[in-house]
């Protein structure tokens, strides 16, 4: 009796992909994690619609996504404020709602941040590949046919009616992130910071970098003064493993923050963005400014623990009651 359940894409906007928390365990085959660049926002969106945190949702960039609900479905929009609207009326973010059959969710354009996330109560029906639903754009696999969404695509959602009762959950207001246009990112030095001159390292830590327009899901390119290598060092190193947040400095001395689509690289890495700040990388857009602040490994681990306990207690008390109630 169930007709088509899910959504139909009316316009994909600049770029919309299906992403979950990433594809891990295949690095030995050159397979990068991919996944939601702002994992915090996707995790919260899933919790708002009563999904497990690691389920797949939509990641949409800056503007233009429009889709129609083919049946009633519980949704939550988190991440960048791209001015989401339902049938042209503003939609409150960081809160779950029922999107009714034939209602249209659209994104007018950026107010703050770069990428918004939409979670659907139930489960997006796409084929898991190598243990993940994430779209790997450079290699063209995963997600929806390995590509960004296009007009006319229909995404199926499994048993959406089961989650309609989750509507109305909201994140504690004080924990809704703000996305500035000038960012301070915490970093841990290394692994090759010793190959740069002291002056180069000072430049790295003191420069207010401008985010280049040549930035995408593979990396954030920064414009600023050149970071010099020590004179005896070659331009590149023997290729080795990378993680998202690795900050590479190629021959031109301008840093690139690697995101989740790369698993090895042959340039020196001066520093690595702290895990607690990784979700921010998904919200940095061309034209923004970035400053780096060095912290110790212990401080980085403490910051990560703080973020995790924040996510664990992220909902208002009344919602906890509702969450428990839903289980009975």
């Amino acid at each position: 009796m169930a007709a088509v359940e899910g959504i139909e894409v009316l316009s994909p906007g600049l770029q919309t992909t299906i992403q979950d928390l990433g594809r891990f365990g295949f690095g030995r085959y050159g397979v990068p994690p991919s996944g939601a660049l702002d994992s915090f926002s996707l995790r919260i969106a899933n919790r708002l619609v009563d999904n497990p945190e690691d389920q797949a949702g939509l990641e949409t960039t800056l503007m233009g996504l429009r889709f129609k609900a083919l049946n009633d479905v519980c949704i939550a929009v988190t991440g960048a404020n791209l001015r989401p609207q339902v049938n042209q009326r503003p939609l409150e973010m960081w809160r779950s709602h029922v999107l009714k059959q034939n209602e249209i969710l659209s994104f007018a354009g950026p107010e703050s941040g770069c990428r918004a996330y939409v979670a659907f109560g139930g489960k997006l029906k796409v084929l898991p590949l190598l243990g993940s639903l994430s779209t790997n754009l450079p290699a063209g696999f995963g997600g929806f046919e390995g590509r960004p969404l296009q007009k006319g695509d229909v995404l199926h959602v499994d048993s959406p009616t089961l989650k309609l009762a989750a509507a109305g959950r909201e994140l504690r207001h004080q924990w809704i992130p703000e996305y500035p246009s000038t960012w301070t990112l915490r970093i841990v030095w290394g692994p090759q910071d010793g190959d740069f001159t002291d002056k180069g390292k000072r430049i790295f830590i003191n420069t207010l970098y401008a985010v280049s327009s040549q930035s995408d899901r593979t990396g954030i390119r920064l414009n600023g003064p050149e970071i010099a290598r020590k004179s005896h060092t070659a331009e590149s190193i023997i290729s080795e493993g990378l993680i998202s947040g690795s900050i590479q400095v190629p021959g031109d001395g301008k840093p690139i923050i690697i995101l989740g689509e790369t698993v090895t690289g042959g340039y020196r890495k001066i520093a690595t963005v702290a895990s607690a700040d990784l979700p921010l990388l998904g919200q940095i857009k061309p034209g923004d400014k970035i400053k780096f602040a060095a912290i110790s490994l212990e401080e980085a681990h403490r910051a990560l623990n703080e973020m995790e306990s924040k996510i664990r207690s992220s909902f208002k008390t009344s919602d906890h009651v509702r969450e428990q109630g839903a289980g009975r």
Binding site: F24, G25, F26, G27, R28, Y29, G30, V31, P32, P33, L129, L130, N136, P138, A139, G140, F141, G142, V188, G190, P191, I238, S239, E240, G241, L242, I243, G245, S246, V263, T264, K269, T272, V273, A274, S275, L297, A300, H301, L304, N305, E308
Partner: protein, 218 residues
């Protein structure tokens, strides 16, 4: 590296011996199924272990990997596989073949003979899913990368860069000198394993014709 990866460096050179050590540590670590390791990325001279600091502390991960390393001499490593890969050399499939021949003052036939001569070692899979970095090409064939990278290198393209040879699994921009094409599919996300080659494999190339390329069935 950062607050969730360890990079274990086992040398400072591209060499089969150092790479063998990496393979040993990689296979040993994988076999121990340490809880909290999210991914292992072996490369030329190092092994990267990505871990979840909420599950395992850096100290205990490092001491476990140290134990594995110290016990490694006794552990028997599985023998690497040898894989033969068909290649059509030259013409539209290998647009840089003539250039390399001119560069070394030899004929394209010499380039093909030299490239098919060694049994290569797969040092690592990286850059993109399924991309094998292999070495070493004979000294006479060592060739620098292209001055201007190509914006579109077709999938299956076989290239040379310095002492190394590699294969592009899917179309991509690239700076390696392209000498031929293989019909072998190097990466299939639905395959088990998804990559045709893995680190440590031995690879030998053999010549096929354009007709064989077009009719190739794996």
């Amino acid at each position: 590296m950062g607050d969730r990866a360890v990079l274990v460096e086992l040398g400072d050179d591209i060499s089969p011996q150092i790479n063998q050590k990496v393979r040993g540590l990689y296979i040993g670590t994988k076999g121990h199924r340490i809880k909290g390791i999210k991914d292992l990325v072996p490369s030329y001279r190092s092994l990267m272990a990505v871990y979840d600091p909420l599950v395992i502390s850096l100290n205990s991960l490092e001491s476990k990997m140290n134990e594995i390393w110290n016990a490694l001499d006794d552990a028997r490593l599985p023998d690497p596989r040898t894989v033969e890969i068909p290649v059509v050399y030259g013409d539209k499939y290998g647009p840089d073949l003539e250039w390399i021949a001119d560069y070394h003052k030899m004929t394209p036939q010499d380039v093909i003979r030299l490239h098919t001569q060694p049994t290569y070692q797969v040092y690592m899979i990286g850059f993109m899913p399924g991309y094998p970095y292999m070495g070493e090409v004979p000294d006479e064939l060592v060739t620098p990368r292209r001055k201007t990278p190509l914006t579109h290198v077709p999938g299956g393209s076989v290239g040379i860069a310095q002492k190394q040879t590699g294969i592009y699994p899917v179309a991509s921009p690239g700076g390696w000198q392209i000498i031929g094409r293989t019909p072998v599919r190097l990466f299939d996300p639905q395959g088990k394993p998804p990559s045709f080659l893995e680190m440590g494999d031995r690879v030998k190339f053999f010549v096929i014709t354009e007709q064989e390329l077009l009719r190739w069935r794996p």
